[in-house]
């Protein structure tokens, strides 16, 4: 059956995120002084054919580890809907 999965890719905590920093600075400029930090990531919606949720999750996790995320600098989380 057709299933949908979401993949969240974020930079590892040890990796400095220049884009997140710029966004945080912009928020400060806008008056959001309560913002402590911003980390920018990527979000994917994957539609795929799979027998069940477990199979879909395993399959999408494999895709995330191979292509969607670079394990050197990023980590990922998979959610099957």
């Amino acid at each position: 059956m057709t299933m949908r999965a979401r993949v969240y890719v974020t930079l590892k905590p040890s990796v400095f995120d220049p884009q997140g920093r710029v966004v945080a600075d912009a928020l400060h400029t806008l008056g959001y002084g309560d913002v402590r930090d911003v980390r920018q990531g990527k979000f994917f919606e994957v539609e795929l054919e799979a027998d069940d949720r477990a199979a879909a999750e395993a399959r999408v996790a494999e895709m995330a580890g191979t292509l969607l995320a670079n394990p050197v600098i990023e980590s990922y989380r998979v959610e099957v809907l």
Binding site: V15, F16, P18, Q19, V22, L67, N70, V72
Partner: protein
């Protein structure tokens, strides 16, 4: 000697590298399309600069799965000299042929200027005609050249003398002011543990003739020619 320059959709320094290898250094060169599966008997491979596949997803992330990359990996595995310039360096990182990764430049700006780069080691096929500590003035042009690796990886690179090029200041010393993109330890280029695969963000091929503002980069491809001649001579001696 024969250079193969890989052409990805979005490469833009492929002809610069081709020109430097053929017209400037005077060797044979061929352009190899990324969907090809053979390097055509090349003696050295260049992955050129540009924006392969539009830098979609991550720089080099799609290009590493191009059909030609299996041949490039096998060539590297056999000890063949492979040079990744700028986007080509990013492809080598994504392909796992070199350790680490690139993130956005520290100040988010695309940096395009000539910078001083120090040659740290001469025992690679792309620095063999340099002298250790030699300063090369080379253009950089990138938005994601901020080299990152975990501290233990950086420590290994330093210990094994695998930092090949380092950004330096006007005094020739690595400094914060001389670091154009935030790279850890001012790293501009590294090699693999077998030392035959070299990646660097600066563009030696764009600085290989006096009219280009600097001809310092010429020595990188001349090194490859020298290393090739030495390999051939060693082969004859042992035959």
């Amino acid at each position: 000697m024969k250079f193969a320059v890989i052409v990805f959709p979005g490469s833009n320094s492929d002809y610069d590298a081709f020109h430097a290898a053929s017209a400037v250094v005077g060797e044979q060169a061929s352009l190899v399309w990324h969907k090809d599966t053979s390097l055509g008997g090349a003696d050295a491979v260049i992955l050129p600069g540009g924006f392969a596949h539009g830098d979609y997803l991550r720089t080099g992330a799609i290009a590493r799965f191009s059909p030609i990359m299996a041949a490039v990996s096998a060539f590297a595995e056999r000890g063949g000299p492979v040079l990744g310039i700028c986007n080509g360096f990013q492809v080598l990182l994504e392909a796992g042929l070199l350790p680490g990764a690139m993130v956005r430049n520290r100040r988010i700006k695309f940096v395009s200027r000539i910078v001083p780069v120090r040659v740290e080691v001469t025992d690679t096929p792309f620095t063999s005609a340099c002298s250790e500590g030699q300063i090369l003035h080379l253009p950089i042009a990138h938005g994601e050249g901020n080299y990152f690796a975990e501290p233990e990886v950086v420590e290994t690179l330093e210990r094994e003398r695998r930092v090949v090029f380092r950004y330096v200041g006007v005094d020739g010393q690595p400094s914060e002011a001389g670091n154009p993109n935030g790279s850890v330890h001012n790293i501009a280029g590294i090699c693999n543990d077998a030392r035959n695969v070299v990646g660097l963000m600066p563009h030696p091929e764009r600085a290989s003739e006096p009219g280009m503002g600097s001809a310092d980069g010429r020595v990188v491809l001349e090194s490859a020619v020298r290393a090739f001649s030495e390999r051939v001579a060693a082969g004859r001696a042992s035959a």
